[in-house]
Symmetry: C2
Subunit: 405 residues, 2 copies
């Protein structure tokens, strides 16, 4: 049985994801597909629209066979760490191929870029330092630094977010000495950050989320961009838990957390660096929404994503120590759900897995799992009443979702 | 100019307080009255119904001439520390008399009890240890211990809360070598904890608060028990800030604070002792209201008040270190408001004050003031929208309230 791995957030699962999944299976010739999926908080430092359980259902119903959780310690990080975590999961789970979507779509261009960067590493790092010194954000400095080395069009454009992720997947495969093969598929039309619908059936997750937070009834506007199963799961989630999650749901908690902290406590938290704590404390009392707060603290030096991640680690009270950045691989395979085919694969292969397979939280203990549990509890506080109660209860007690075919 | 001091919470100011104030002035022959008043959080570990500013207005309008804030570090403490702080304020402000209300009303009985306790201190402490060892709460053990020493009726009944406070006022005056004279007045009818109206014009603050948290319109039910000025201030506050403050307003924040903390972080907070942190953490996720949470964590060993104080220090993130229990007196006289007569007194006497007079927060710095500011900001989070915004703004910027006659 051949397996293809994908790295996903599915926030929510849409037609672009479906296209990628089907192409990945086809192109790799795999019998089954395995997703390393972020939990309740995502790489851009945001809460997922709906819980990891609802997103697991969407994934299984759309054709993913096995969903493993990418732990908080990796899922909420910059591209390099995110990629290391995801690669270590898919590799440990026996995937033959990792297939990622990219703006480039050309694996040769990726390989050529990696070799170029290795050969010019010293010069490249120097350029990055130059641009950060000029006050540019780190991602922007990487992109400017690379451009300034003037590679031709046979290289990938590393200012594009999915190209950057792809680069790190390949580098992680090399570093981890994984036997996985990398493949890439060109992403369909919509850019990662696009806020507007640009095609008849493919839209970015960003534009879909934007539509969902509009007026009641606007959920119908996204119908053409997502599989029917996603559409139903979204409606079910809204009705069962009380709505979708956004940063605004957590703003009263973040504001409180900031107002009750002092600068030294904040400095102990992950990614709070370079006097940022004073900026955050000064803005907290006078901000009435998360949006307003972010606009107060935004500068050229920090990307919106970086600042959202800072806010997230403050919200979850995640210390520098907890994030143990020196340890770059995942310790366990936490199963969120599987189809029948996925279960056969697990039964057949799990004895060969290089990491423990975790189906019941009560049977396993690990600092990264503790962090995932804490993050999920805080995620639950984005709802009130019964919705919150259910979310709090299911994190610890819920068995993986088993989809019957 | 002779001054009489009173120690108050005025939560809210009612007819019983008015009676006490008028009697205190009369009995002491004072020209002016000075109140040491708790800020936004109170001795029982609760948020005040309305802010310290609204309560200062009530006090001035009812005949108090000067209101100083009893800092958080004293206001939210057991009777001994509470009394030490209040006595140090009134003494530094030049009061000739401290006049407290008590169930006993007999100063001789107080003095006799203090001498008896000093002479039998060793035996008394032993009895207290015996009863706490039996699992009784500390206040209950004091009361049982005293009873077991079998003093006659010429002593005060130290199971009554206002007698206990009075005892500590007198002891603090002695310990601080203050030149203030103590006086006491029998409290009018209503017991401190009474929940039901028991007289035509005098009701406990507890029963008044209970009525205020009932259905809309019930505010009229308290009209006969409070001065017209209090009634108006309450209506103004509700309309201007959005409602009255109760622990339930802060429950989502306390729940979040607990869910994002680990046991060791909680142990660093004031009054979290003897494994209480594990009890609190276990109850947090499954409680849907503050009331329910308190019922989960309540045991014979801890009084409701003690547990509410623990919750309060967790809510305000107040560490054991911050509370510096070894330093028993206040560092400053923070002026919340004054009448014209009060202002004359301040102008005339302030050069003799043994502590700095603080009218503008920006002109003074002290760790206890920092704590007061933090507590007030968190108090503000009990409201939403404009009400919260106003409360956040006024703590730092607001000058003392100057009542014109």
């Amino acid at each position: 049985m051949k397996a293809v791995g994908v790295v996903v957030e599915y926030n929510p699962f849409h037609n672009g994801h479906l296209f990628h999944l089907q192409q990945a299976k086809k192109q790799s010739g795999a019998d089954i597909s395995i997703a390393a999926m972020s939990g309740n908080f995502l790489q851009r430092g945001e809460p997922a629209l709906v819980s990891k359980w609802a997103r697991t259902k969407m994934a299984l119903e759309a054709g993913v066979d096995i969903v493993f959780e990418l732990p908080y310690r990796f899922a909420t990080q910059h591209a390099e760490t995110f990629a290391e975590g995801a690669v270590s999961i898919l590799s440990a789970a026996g995937c033959d191929t990792l297939c990622f979507g990219s703006e480039s779509g050309d694996l040769n261009a990726f390989n050529k870029t990696i070799i170029f960067l290795e050969e010019n590493n010293e010069k490249f790092q120097e350029r990055i330092r130059f641009y950060t010194g000029e006050g540019y954000s780190y991602p922007k400095s990487i992109s400017l630094g690379f451009q300034s080395l003037a590679p031709d069009e046979s290289f990938i454009d590393i200012s594009r977010p999915n190209n950057i992720l792809g680069l790190h997947y390949i580098q992680a495969i090399i570093r981890q000495k994984s036997s996985m093969r990398a493949e890439t598929i060109t992403r369909k039309s919509a850019g990662y950050h696009d806020e507007h619908f640009a095609s008849a059936t493919i839209a970015s997750a960003t534009s879909i989320r934007k539509a969902l937070f509009g007026a009641v009834g606007e959920i119908e506007n996204i119908k053409q961009y997502v599989p029917e199963t996603t559409y139903q799961q979204l409606i079910n989630y809204r009705d069962q838990y009380g709505g979708f999650h956004s940063w605004e749901n957590y703003w009263p908690l973040l504001k409180y957390k900031l107002l009750q902290s002092n600068a030294s406590e904040l400095r102990g938290l992950y990614e709070v660096e370079e006097g940022l704590e004073n900026r955050l404390l000064a803005a907290a009392a006078s901000s009435e929404s998360f949006q307003q707060f972010m606009e107060y603290i935004k500068t050229k030096r920090y990307t919106w994503t970086r600042l959202q991640r800072v806010c997230l680690h403050i919200l979850t009270n995640t210390s520098k120590n907890t994030m143990k950045t020196s340890q770059k691989t995942v310790n366990y395979l936490r199963l969120l759900g599987a189809t029948e085919k996925g279960r056969s694969y697990l039964n057949y292969k799990k004895k060969d897995f290089s990491l423990p397979l975790v189906s019941k939280l009560s049977a396993f203990s690990d600092p990264d799992i503790e962090l995932d549990i804490k993050a999920s509890r805080i995620y639950a506080l984005g709802q009130t009443g019964k919705g919150q109660e259910q979310l709090l209860a299911e994190e610890f007690a819920r068995p993986p979702i088993m989809l019957k075919s």
